[in-house]
Point group: C2
Chain length 235, copies 2
């Protein structure tokens, strides 16, 4: 190994993903049981070390795919955690990502030995190292970003109804929104394409299915939308 900058210490560099899913009623988080010593068996975020010739973002995607089978997932780097003693074994710098997946697409991999499990936010188990803090910060980041940009769509299947979408937003912000304003506001963004079919399972009248208008989505993604009423109170 060439070391051209002498006298400097090298560190382990890891990626960890906070994986959000939505089951139709609640936001959930996918955790695994740690396979390495110490704290073997304790709950942990999905993570792994960055390989020698690998970009960190690629590492995060790789770990996600290895463990959930999912590709092309929405994933966003949000913070580096690097306190000297955060891993008691050896100093490790970890780059934290949050990922939004369609929970229905997720299937537990057969190769997966460490029992991944979905947890509700208000029923999280004790976690290794500083992972609880990482989760807390990921959730804040998710709320912040979702108030301005339409990222929560990533948690739903390709087809969804507006009431489903509203339940999702209500789950993320732990509040009730006004149904009537919510649907009008979303429709006015021009991000949705109405489909012919209705979902008749959850109501008698039935709610129309929608899908994302992909080109409008990409175009409006950057600008500031007002998707959450009175967002200030959440920060």
């Amino acid at each position: 190994m060439r070391q051209e900058y002498p006298g400097q210490k090298r560190f382990l560099v890891a990626v960890d993903s906070i994986i959000f899913g939505f089951d139709g009623y609640n936001i959930k988080l996918l955790l695994v049981q740690r396979s390495l010593s110490p704290e073997t068996g304790k709950w942990s975020l999905m993570g792994g070390f960055v390989h020698p010739e690998e970009d960190p973002g690629a590492a995060a995607s790789r770990v996600l795919q290895e463990r959930t089978g999912l590709k092309d997932v929405y994933i966003e780097q949000f913070h580096v955690f690097g306190k000297p003693d955060r891993d008691p074994v050896e100093r490790t710098i970890t780059i934290a990502y949050f990922a939004l997946i369609d929970i229905q697409q997720y299937e537990q991999q057969l190769t997966e030995e460490n029992n991944p499990e979905w947890f509700l936010l208000d029923a999280m188990p004790e976690m290794v190292f500083d992972h609880a803090e990482m989760v807390a910060q990921a959730l804040r980041q998710l709320r912040y970003k979702a108030a301005l940009h339409p990222i929560l769509f990533q948690l739903l299947p390709g087809r969804f109804t507006i009431p489903q979408l509203q339940a999702l937003y209500e789950g993320v912000y732990q509040t009730k929104f006004d149904d009537r304003n919510f649907s009008r506001k979303l429709l006015s963004t021009g991000l949705l394409v109405k489909l012919a079919e209705k979902d008749k399972l959850s109501s008698k009248k039935g709610a129309f299915y929608y899908q994302l208008d992909q080109s409008n989505y990409e175009q409006k993604f950057g600008s500031f939308l007002n998707l959450v009423p009175n967002p200030d109170k959440f920060f």
Copy 2:
């Protein structure tokens, strides 16, 4: 050196700061000439390696203080750059911060051997490695955040006038804002405390000095303010 996670590669971890200043007319960026080989003498961001027992944020503050003499500076981690070949010598992961300083407080350190210099954004020299990309992304992040939160105050002295503040915003967004609306909007935030004295240098009528209302500042910092007209067009 204990290595308890065998078979993993360790990397150099650096911090680099994009240091913004404002001279009253234009946004500027503080660069230094690289002291290490290769590319010695080429312009570079201020950075350094993370020390063995040091938090990355502390490393960024330390480097900033060593090189500018400034403490208690606004500094914010915004992205990790880690492409395998970004440093041709040896793989280095760098954590990028942007810093906002009062350019008048900055004084070149006597110990500083590598000729730090302020550059205008539209007259940047060629830079080392991927530093130009880092600057571009820092600027985007600055614009994004400053549209929602009152961070640009950090670039001004403790006392400032509203026209100064406006010039600063106009510099950041490379546009003209309406003077009349700008002052009313800022005053309505409740963030400013009017002082008795006027600045008579830049106009005949003179503009009152203001300072930040520190408690309001901290309290309102988190919520979404609308400090920039039509912000959407910048993203």
